[in-house]
């Protein structure tokens, strides 16, 4: 039975840890499918974490914090669009600028306003999201296997966990089953053809970036107002890049990106479990090396043992109408 509960807790933490990655990967799909590179997921996630925590602290309601985070992230997405869609600046440079700007600004403002070396004050129960217990979770716990799955794996997560996994089919539907999605993908593959058909390429890219901003805000809010009860310096810890790698590994497709996110989440959950554990034949692996596991996995996945990833055709190229 202990083995079973070990597995259950591992799956449970995998679901929780993958959540911000799922939101970020879905956000990335919108931007990149429209032909705009988005390495700034990292910075936006950090911004959302900061704004959600600060907003919730001052307004006393985590939903208002989330709303502010959405506004902040959409603004950053618009900034990215302004630089790289309207002014045709280099998309990667714009992303690097946003990432560095946000790392500095969030920590500097947290220090200036709260004077705690880049920490925001701890949120109380009213100011943060709490775990959601599904109905009958307690009473069904003793049912063999099914009870464990329902009560220990599915129940007791933060609202964002459920939202993240609901987002995936929604994104699939929007991108692949609606006319908006068709236009979105066309803009990323062949913008001049779309332009000829009378669709505004720039407007489509801005719309995609706006959706991207909304989605990534959830990832940040999950970090600072649900899993943790405050913001701390660089708390996104490379998750934006991991999500991007997951998206590329998933070939810009929601379902496969989800699988990659879960794989990252599982690796991370496993590395936390493995810390300080004696492994047969190997012994105890030093904690610093275990912590590097998700990053190594990212590189390995990107190296693509499943074939070369093919990006949307027009990605990274600003659209110039006269050409």
């Amino acid at each position: 039975m202990e083995f079973l509960s070990d597995i259950a807790s591992l799956i449970n933490s995998t679901l929780r840890i993958s959540t911000p990655l799922v939101f970020a990967a879905m956000a990335g799909i919108f931007a990149e499918r429209s032909g705009v590179i988005d390495f700034s997921l990292e910075g936006k996630m950090l911004m959302a974490a900061f704004v959600a925590a600060v907003g919730s602290y001052f307004l006393g309601n985590p939903w208002l914090g989330l709303l502010l985070a959405i506004i902040a992230c959409v603004s950053l997405s618009m900034l990215h669009g302004f630089a790289s869609v309207t002014y045709k600046g280099d998309q990667v440079v714009s992303c690097v600028a946003i990432n560095i700007l946000i790392i500095g600004l969030t920590t500097a403002l947290a220090a200036a306003w709260f004077g705690q070396a880049g920490l925001t004050p701890t949120l109380n129960e009213d100011q943060r999201f709490l775990e959601v217990n599904l109905p009958f979770a307690e009473s069904l716990r003793d049912v063999p296997i099914l009870g464990t799955i329902y009560s220990d794996i599915l129940s007791g997560h933060y609202i964002f966990v459920y939202l993240a996994y609901l987002t995936v089919p929604l994104v699939f539907w929007v991108v692949f089953k609606t006319s908006f999605g068709l236009r979105l993908r066309a803009v990323g593959e062949n913008p001049s053809a779309v332009d000829t058909a009378g669709i505004n390429v720039f407007a489509m890219r801005y719309k995609a970036l706006a959706i991207n901003g909304v989605l990534i805000a959830f990832a940040g809010a999950h970090l600072s107002t649900a899993v943790n009860a405050n913001f701390f310096r660089e708390m996104s810890a490379g998750r934006g890049y991991l999500a991007l790698a997951a998206m590329i590994f998933g070939k810009w497709h929601p379902k496969t990106a989800l699988v990659a996110c879960l794989l990252f989440g599982f690796t991370d959950a496993l590395q936390i479990r493995l810390q300080g554990v004696e492994l047969p034949a190997i012994g105890e692996i030093p904690v610093q090396l275990i912590q590097a596991l998700p990053y190594v996995l990212t590189v390995v996945l990107l190296a693509g043992f499943v074939g070369k990833a093919i990006a949307p055709n027009a990605i990274g190229q600003p659209y110039i109408k006269e050409r």
Binding site: S94, I98, L105, A245, V299
Partner: protein, 371 residues
């Protein structure tokens, strides 16, 4: 957007006036941030100028930071000419420092100048090796270097902390750092030079690595603009298809460009290990690798531009520490944000006012020519 005939735009407009206006915009936005943080931006500017120029040690610190930024700025610029975004300077510098230390400690029986030479080579080789894997994956698998080099920064940090805690730690001390190198291997410092002329000044981290940075700038200029390989690399960066058609291998050039870039970033380890700490201290690259991106973009990826850009960031860093000392609401992260703003305005948004400015000057010159 207005279009301008590029050939009619004088070089000083596109290379001096436009970057300068972008920089002023960036500094204006930065001033707003300082205001939001609850301090007076004008007072901050005064403190920055005093901190970086006001006294001899302050100025020495400014040049010490300049040294680091020249290395990381050149590193980013070389890769950028091949259209590669090497944002892994941080990790490459970290591993480069490991190379410096391992060479210096293991060859301490050799004469000191030879050890220095070998240590510099160690920095380059280790830094280049750390850039090689992302380069190889980019060249063969198309794995984007932005993600892989960032991952290699995280991996380098984990690896170095592991080494510093478990393998090469100075076990007589508490902190995660190595033992110190023998004193005769330490690079001569600025105050040593000053002492030769009978001038006594207090400690500063400035050392002869500054000259190495100048040498590296000349090397990069020669390599990128004056050699056949530099031409090939720029050709790949400018138009890969055309380069392939001309018989230039993008595969080879991507790997060489990244390795040279990593080697240059590794040189930061020379300044930090031989010049300043004399041992490996956990986290010594301290963000210099990222600042190199801003330096290179501001300096338009040319050594002649990178030098003043590195100096400007030296002023911001040294003056910035003066600000954080006097203004409780400002931390050094404020200057990380300033870097982001500078990258935004001199990199991504560089076209914001360029057509208008260029038009203005072209029209003026035309007007003069007619008159």
């Amino acid at each position: 957007m207005a279009t301008v005939d590029k050939s009619k735009v004088p070089w000083w407009v596109s290379n001096l006036i436009v970057p300068l206006i972008n920089l002023i915009l960036a500094l204006f936005v930065s001033g707003l941030f300082i205001f939001i943080a609850g301090e007076n931006p004008f007072e901050a500017v005064r403190l920055i100028i005093y901190g970086s120029f006001g006294y001899i040690e302050g100025f020495a610190y400014t040049l010490y930071y300049t040294t680091n930024f020249i290395f990381t700025g050149l590193a980013f610029a070389v890769a950028f000419h091949c259209r590669l975004f090497n944002i892994g300077g941080e990790g490459q510098a970290y591993i480069g420092g490991l190379g410096v230390f391992l060479v210096a400690i293991n060859f301490s029986f050799l004469p000191v100048p030879i050890v220095w030479l070998l240590a510099v080579m160690g920095a380059v080789v280790f830094g280049a090796a750390w850039a090689f894997i992302p380069a190889y994956l980019q060249a063969t698998r198309g794995s984007h270097v932005v993600i892989t080099t960032i991952m290699f920064n995280f991996i380098a940090a984990s690896l170095m902390v592991f080494l510093l805690v478990d393998i090469i730690r100075d076990t007589t001390q508490m902190g995660p750092h190595t033992i110190a190198l023998p004193e005769e291997q330490w690079f001569p410092s600025f105050e040593d030079f000053a002492a030769l002329f009978g001038i006594k000044i207090r400690y500063s981290p400035l050392n002869i690595s500054f000259l190495l940075a100048i040498a590296a700038s000349v090397f990069v200029w020669f390599l990128v603009w004056k050699t056949r390989w530099g031409y090939e690399m720029r050709a790949v960066g400018h138009n890969t298809q055309a380069a392939i058609y001309a018989g230039i291998s993008p595969y080879k050039n991507i790997i060489i460009a990244m390795c040279i870039s990593g080697g240059l970033a590794g040189l930061l380890g020379v300044n930090e290990i031989l010049g300043v700490h004399h041992k490996i201290v956990a986290g010594f690259p301290a963000g210099y690798g990222f600042t190199g991106i801003a330096v290179a973009l501001m300096g338009r990826n040319h050594p002649i531009g990178i030098f003043p850009a590195a100096f400007l960031f030296g002023i911001l860093y040294q003056g910035g520490s003066e600000v954080t000392f006097d203004m409780p609401n400002i931390t050094r992260y404020m200057f990380v944000a300033v870097q982001g703003v500078i990258i935004l305005f001199s990199g991504a948004l560089e076209n914001l006012f360029r057509p208008q400015i260029e038009n203005f000057f072209v029209n003026r010159l035309n007007f003069k020519a007619k008159a």
